[in-house]
Structures are given as structure tokens and as C-alpha cells.
């Protein structure tokens, strides 16, 4: 959490709140800060910001903090918070929404690897219509390696390659690695859905 003093500005706070409520379909105003969500959050200890705090940040109109906290990126979408919420607020939908806003506004994610993984997954799934593990992991690894190299982190790239090679070897040995490309025949439909998704965002 930042140590800055937030200047509460009602109009801006309303715009942020309404936008997130519309997009996520969650009624954030129902939150009475009971913190049942925080008690059950499996990543709460590491993120600092728990689901209740995230809701508070949004209600207070702190756009920057709402988009730049570890919970948004490290949330594993286990849906424990929403399942236990007495007011039926699904906070995981809010972290999903904030990730999407960050992407649409081309903000640098606090955890680029997590964002890159999900983008790589969707790219691979859209390409063949089915997710091929080698293709998806390939796109992801190249993407993260390029970013690390740009920052001069050669060590991090080597470490990642070593770890993935080790896992790959284990998978080969146990016949869990598949080289056959699995694909949808009617990929025209998949492409049409991806195009429509893009158009929906533009709308």
C-alpha cells in the first residue's frame, strides 16, 4: 500500500466504481468489510491487499492503487472469497476486470509474467482452436525471455530455461509430452469469435 494521502474526489470515485461494477457485474456497494474474504484468501498473506481492501480502494476512488496491487495479479481465481461473501460479491471477478482494464489501457502489469501467460494461452487457443501445450508454453517463454533480456536479466532467462527443460525432460520420460498438433477443423468460427471479442471491446 502506498503511504500517500489520497485526495478523495467524489466524481472520479463514482466513475471508477460504476465502471468496475458494470464490467464485473458485482455490487461493490454491498461490502460491509466483514473480511471473511480476507480470512479465506490463499494469497492474501503475500499480496498484502486482500479482497476487502481492494473493494475499499475502488470505493475511495484510488484508481492507481486499485490497478497496481499484487492481489490483482496474484489472484488465483479460486473463488473462495466470493463463495464465502455474505453479500455475494465475487471479488475474483473484480481482479479479472482490473486485469482487463490494465490490458486495454496498455499499463505495465505489476507481474508481467502472469499477464503474459494468459495472453499466450489465448493466442495459442485462438490459433489452432485448441490449446497445444508446446505452442502455448513456447509463446509464453519467448515473450518473457525477450522482456528479461531487454532488462539485461540474462541470469533469469537461463534459470527459467533450465527449469522448463527439467520439467520437459520429466514429461518426456513419463510420456506426458505430446507433439501431435491438436486442432479444430472449423477454425473460421473461432476466428469470428475472436474478431467479435475485439469489436466488443472497441464498442
Amino acid at each position: 500500500m502506498s503511504a500517500k494521502t489520497l485526495q478523495y474526489e467524489a466524481e472520479g470515485a463514482q466513475i471508477l466504481l460504476r465502471g468496475i461494477m458494470d464490467k464485473s457485474g458485482q455490487n461493490l456497494l454491498a461490502c460491509y468489510q466483514c473480511r471473511r474474504c480476507a480470512a479465506g484468501c490463499p494469497v492474501g498473506e503475500e499480496t498484502g491487499v486482500t479482497p476487502d481492501r481492494l473493494i475499499r480502494l475502488i470505493l475511495l476512488g484510488d484508481r492507481e492503487e486499485a490497478l497496481n496491487n499484487l492481489l490483482v495479479w496474484k489472484c488465483v481465481a479460486c473463488y473462495t472469497c466470493g463463495t464465502r461473501c455474505p453479500n455475494n460479491i465475487q471479488t475474483a471477478r473484480i481482479t479479472e476486470t482490473l486485469k482487463q482494464i490494465a490490458k486495454e489501457e496498455h499499463l505495465e502489469p505489476l507481474r508481467p509474467r502472469i499477464a503474459d501467460f494468459h495472453s499466450a494461452f489465448m493466442k495459442a487457443a485462438g490459433h489452432m482452436g485448441r490449446f497445444n501445450e508446446i505452442e502455448g508454453m513456447g509463446i509464453y517463454e519467448v515473450k518473457t525471455a525477450v522482456k528479461e533480456l531487454k532488462k539485461g536479466n540474462v541470469g533469469a532467462v537461463i534459470e527459467e530455461m533450465k527449469n522448463q527443460a527439467k520439467l520437459g525432460m520429466k514429461m518426456m520420460k513419463k510420456k506426458r509430452m505430446h507433439f501431435k498438433v491438436d486442432k479444430v477443423k472449423n477454425r473460421t468460427e473461432i476466428k469470428a469469435l475472436y474478431r467479435k471479442a475485439k469489436a466488443e471491446k472497441g464498442a
Binding site: E46, E96, I114, G129, F131, N163, K174
Partner: protein, 291 residues
């Protein structure tokens, strides 16, 4: 009887063994799994995290194909695929505008008629009816599984009918007990393994798994059993790493529920690809003289 069947991408790749086992076990119970034609990836959690439209539209295409089969029920063994498909069907049932927008792009339109079932929903009634016992040739004596459900079988981002107790599901315990196994009572059965975090946020995922594994070990389990290919892969493939980092004494095999049922039914373990686990899964079965 015939059920429509959606294997999903995992069951065509790293978790092919689960696909093989599902067909064997269901077949023996007199259920023919009819894989739906030309299915696509459901988008998994990645779609929900990146694109609300695709998160609904990708499973919707599969639902349209499934509706066109005319079958009344589709079984989806992967928890993530099951969750995304059920959520898509629910969302479309209350958003006709979105349904029309998606249907406009599809050859097989979504009607929303087919019942979307997880694997336990189909298997559990076969215990009550006695069919499971009738097909079981062996008692799984000595097997003490920690039944691991993970997140997506009982927790959803919207209101859908949950088919088991949300916080303390019992489906796998019921099946295991009916086969003579003795499942342990434990506290982490619905905790998250991190799913894709094992790739993109490894330290976090290892920590989450360490809590799960520590409890399973403390409760005296001698194996895990799960229905989710992501849970299975993580707890199996990363177990050695977690054990070394967090000081676990034992290494426990991570079975799919279909493996335990298949062993009880007398199927050949190698035929079911039980030898394709990262933590040896054959040894315990041999030790207990189950194979």
C-alpha cells in the same frame, strides 16, 4: 446409455491418461462417451482474466455442438472445462442479447438444453444404485487417499447449482469407500494448488501446494485422488520440488478417481497408463497387492 463427452485440451495432451481411463471406466459401467465433434478450447481461466466475451463465447460453441447431438447430458471430466462451460450456459440463459450475438457466429446454435455434468455427478449415483459394486472385482484395502477437489468443482463465479457440499464435498469419499478404500479426513481438500501459477508465479504455487501436502501427510494419507487434470499435474509434477523446499517426508502418488475405480474393476494398470505419473503410482498398488 450414451453421454456426450467433452475431453478438453489437457485430456488430449499431458493428461491423456485421464481420457483413456474415463472411456474404460464409463464403458464398463455401460456408459458410452460420445466425444462431441470438432470441439474447441474452453478458454480456461485465461479467457476470464483477459476477455469477458471469449470467456462465454468459447464454451458456447461447444455447447451448441453438444445441443445438436440431441443427447440429454454432457460429461466434462476436467474441472476447469466443466466450470467454464457451466458458467457460460448459465450466463447465456439470462443474457439473450449476448446469446444472440454469439449464436450469429455459430453453425450449431446454443439452445442451452443439454445438462452439463462433472464426472462425480455421473459416477456417484452408480454407487447408490449398486452398479459400481457390481463391477468392482477388488477391494481397495489399505488405500488411504486424501480426496483432493481443488477449486473449480464446487466454487463458481456466479450462481449455478453446486452438486456437492461447497466447503466439504464428499463425492470422491463416497466412491472410494464403496470400493473399500479408507479416505482420510483433512482440511485442504478444496484449497487451490495455484493452477497456472505453477508456471507464471512459481513461488506462490509451491507455497500453496506445500500447505496441501503438509496436511495430507499429517493426516496419514498414503495417496491423493483427484478429478482435475490441473490439480493432478501440479501436485504430481511439482511434489518433489515442494517436498525438498518445505521438508516433506513422504512422496504420495496422485491418482485420478478413474484410476482407483479402474483398479477396483480389475483393469490392467499399464493399460490405464498408471505408469505415467511423476511420483511413482505403481509401487503403492503393488505393495498393497492391488495389482
Amino acid at each position: 446409455m450414451q453421454l456426450a463427452y467433452y475431453p478438453g485440451c489437457s485430456l488430449h495432451a499431458s493428461s491423456e491418461l485421464y481420457d483413456v481411463q474415463c472411456k474404460m471406466v464409463f464403458g464398463n459401467l455401460g456408459i458410452e462417451l460420445k466425444e462431441i465433434a470438432d470441439w474447441n478450447c474452453c478458454g480456461a481461466t485465461a479467457a476470464a482474466k483477459t476477455d469477458d466475451f471469449l470467456a462465454i463465447a468459447l464454451p458456447a460453441r461447444n455447447l451448441g455442438i453438444a445441443d445438436a447431438t440431441g443427447l440429454s447430458e454432457i460429461v466434462i471430466p476436467c474441472s476447469s472445462c466443466y466450470s467454464r462451460t457451466l458458467v457460460s450456459q448459465q450466463r447465456l440463459s439470462c443474457d439473450p442479447e449476448l446469446k444472440a450475438a454469439i449464436n450469429a457466429e455459430l453453425g450449431s446454435k446454443v439452445e442451452g438444453a443439454i445438462k452439463v455434468s462433472n464426472i462425480l455427478e455421473v459416477l456417484k449415483p452408480r454407487v447408490a444404485s449398486g452398479e459400481m459394486a457390481e463391477k468392482a472385482k477388488k477391494k481397495l484395502e489399505g488405500l488411504k487417499p486424501a480426496c483432493y477437489y481443488g477449486c473449480l468443482l464446487t466454487r463458481f463465479p456466479c450462481d449455478v447449482t453446486v452438486t456437492d457440499d461447497v466447503e466439504n464435498p464428499q463425492g470422491m469419499e463416497i466412491i472410494c469407500r464403496s470400493l473399500g478404500a479408507d479416505p482420510v479426513d483433512w482440511s485442504y481438500k478444496t484449497d487451490c494448488c495455484g493452477a497456472s501459477a505453477s508456471v507464471n508465479d512459481a513461488e506462490q504455487s509451491l507455497l500453496l501446494m506445500s500447505r496441501i501436502m503438509k496436511d495430507a501427510e499429517a493426516r496419514g494419507a498414503n495417496c491423493y485422488v483427484t478429478t482435475c487434470p490441473l490439480c493432478q499435474f501440479n501436485v504430481d509434477a511439482y511434489q518433489e520440488q515442494v517436498a525438498q523446499k518445505y521438508g516433506l517426508e513422504k512422496r504420495l502418488p496422485v491418482y485420478f478417481i478413474t484410476e482407483l475405480i479402474g483398479i477396483a474393476m480389475g483393469f490392467d494398470a499399464v493399460g490405464m497408463q498408471v505408469d505415467r505419473h511423476f511420483v511413482d503410482a505403481m509401487g503403492l498398488l503393488k505393495e498393497l497387492k492391488l495389482i
